[in-house]
Amino acid sequence: MKQSSSTVQELPGAASAYRPTPPPAWKPRTDPAPLLPEAEPHRVLGTDAVATADPELLRRLYAELVRGRRYNAQATALTKQGRLAVYPSSTGQEACEVAAALALEDRDWLFPSYRDTLAAVARGLDPVQALTLLRGDWHTGYDPHEHRVAPLCTPLATQLPHAVGLAHAARLKGDDVVALAMVGDGGTSEGDFHEALNFAAVWQAPVVFLVQNNGFAISVPLAKQTAAPSLAHKAVGYGMPGRLVDGNDAVAVHQVLSEAVARARRGGGPTLVEAVTYRIDAHTNADDATRYRGDSEVEAWRAHDPILLLERELTERGMLDEEGKRQAAEAAETMAAALRERMNAEPVLDPMDLFAHVYAEQTAQLREQAAQLRAELDAAGDDASAGTEGDVR
């Protein structure tokens, strides 16, 4: 059974008369070269390329980044006050969040993960509705069809095939719609990531996958997650282009995503974009990041902050002065104050909602159970509006 191939010997006979031909069915269908991502993360800020960027876009991005940062801070504060059950902050990742929202047309669809409330809000979603899940009064707090934002998705990477299916369905219906799906570096290890990208490429579905590589999956650093040259290199194995971008360069992210969206829209198929960024806060308020990373790493990234990068660029180019900064900050503050105020109101909940929308029509069994709960509530004199947490009794 064993056979060592190291025993190299001269063979008898002349060199073979026939020439090798590839096996009949084999043909390379795609040239891999154009699929390979950039050698280094693509950047615009600080390069000559910035000169070709739309100034209005730059200002828009700046305002949204500042607002986004403030939103993250406000949501985190609400968590400390017990107004939110949990908040996975995207502080430090605002460039990705904002660029993802701005790269899409109104008719397009966004598929966010639990960390991407900010992208949903930047897309126009009501900030309070976007936080319903994390406040805990319902799962999805908004009608996904209203702003074409799929439910914030917690089971990792499971939203990716949804995006592919929706984009595919839209194309089948002849609609000019692109889906953009967001996932983290950790999420790329899940089987659903693989299956979604493969379906997208085979179907040439108009979908863009944005991986926010923020260096960690909770405590697990990228080096324990993958041995790939970059996450963008995964694209090659599906036959789609991979793009690598500096995720803290809002202009670069916006550019790469816009190109990918345009490509998808014109029938060019899916793209995988890896945005290299960093989660400045802990995984969520419940996490203790000091257990798995040092301050110096965080500090290095603070120096590469997305707002800082853009602010510096705009200031140097004379597009932003102190007054401009003040205005942006003020707009953010107004948003935060409104959010704070609205979130301080106790949500009015109806326990009978437990039985709503389980099925299109309530089953006999659920009607029985609803009646039981109704009776219990009546017996307890419950006014059905209390919104406090799981005191099980």
Partner: protein, 336 residues
């Protein structure tokens, strides 16, 4: 439209299922069939035979080989207003799709307060008795029953195969449609040119009336119970046979009406007994009919073992004798 089924000949369950999809696809352009080998090949059981040819590959699609991907993309398609009819090639090959099924398909309507219903059918050939090697004969209905938000439906006759699948496709909720492999080639003098009506989901039917005891069963065990009921006559037992057809929603009314009348019941299914559907069924009968019961509700089920290899499966599957043995243990001496 080409007519692939002859008008006069008796049809098989597989043909009736094909016809149900074909009729639904012809009526409703949002119905899309998808799965492994469902297109060109027409499915390994030929249940989707001819659909790709008739409606095109975009309506009946051979997907890449990835069950979570199939169900996951179907979720996205349903979000956009399509009605995917997904085929899982065999019972055990639906397992890779469980996360999508449990965490998304079953809950999407509820999570979104009704904004995103999931009108979707997941067809799963299930059960044994066809000499299949391992992983080809599982009865996985207990998993689906334990997942709120899903309907779980299974036909036992050619007519129901058509009528229930039509209803499942028309349903605005996700339906796990369990097809008893063993009955795919069962025939009825059912004319495919004049299909029977759409059957409502959630209604059991009494397949045989009787006074002594009720056999509560579904899917592949329905013919077994009918045969057992015939054989039982020799022992003086007049058995009623209830075909549940729908495990979720469960038709308490029909089942309890029968058991209250007969006073005795045996639940029969192929799935393993422990943690299987029979526990739920027996428990709810008991809760509702306790004072009518002359004996505990008994269960005849597959043994609590991994599905055995083909040469031993007949010892595992609940057959007529095992059903009769259970009926004999219904404490006849005790009562009415």
């Amino acid at each position: 439209m080409t007519t692939t089924l002859a008008a006069a000949k008796p049809a098989t369950m597989a043909q009736a299922l094909q016809r149900a999809m074909r009729d639904a696809m012809a009526e409703d352009p949002t119905v899309h069939v998808m799965g492994e080998d469902v297109g060109t090949l027409g499915g390994v059981f030929r249940v989707t035979d001819g659909l790709a040819k008739e409606f095109g590959e975009d309506r009946c699609t051979d997907t890449p080989l990835a069950e979570a991907g199939i169900l996951g993309t179907a979720v996205g398609m349903a979000m956009y207003g399509l009605r995917p009819v997904v085929e899982m090639q065999f019972d055990a090959f639906a397992y890779p799709a469980f996360e999508q099924l449990i965490s998304h398909v079953s809950r999407m309507r509820n999570r979104t307060r009704g904004a995103m219903p999931m009108p979707m059918v997941i067809r799963v050939p299930y059960g044994g008795g066809i000499g299949g090697v391992e992983h080809h004969s599982d009865s996985s209905e207990a998993y689906y029953m334990a997942t709120p938000g899903l309907h779980v439906v299974t036909p036992a006759t050619v007519e129901d195969a058509y009528g229930l699948l039509r209803a499942a496709i028309a349903s605005d909720d996700p339906v796990v449609f369990l097809e008893p492999k063993r009955l795919y080639w069962s025939k009825a003098a059912w004319s495919p040119e004049a299909p029977t009506a759409v059957e409502p989901i959630g209604k059991a039917v009494v397949r045989r009336t009787g006074r002594s005891a009720t056999l509560v069963t579904y899917g592949p065990s329905v013919p077994v119970c009918l045969e057992a009921a015939e054989a039982a006559q020799a022992e003086g037992w007049d058995l009623e046979v209830v075909d549940l057809r729908s495990l979720v929603p469960f038709d308490d009314e029909t089942v309890c009406a029968s058991v209250r009348r007969t006073g005795r019941a045996v639940v029969v299914h192929e799935s393993t007994g422990f943690g299987g559907p029979g526990g739920e069924i027996a428990a709810r009968i008991t809760e509702r009919c306790f004072h009518h019961l002359e004996a505990p509700v008994l269960r005849v089920a597959g043994f609590d073992i991994p599905y055995p290899p083909p040469m031993l499966e007949r010892h595992h599957l609940p057959g007529v004798d095992r059903v009769l043995d259970a009926v004999a243990r219904l404490q006849w001496e005790a009562g009415s």
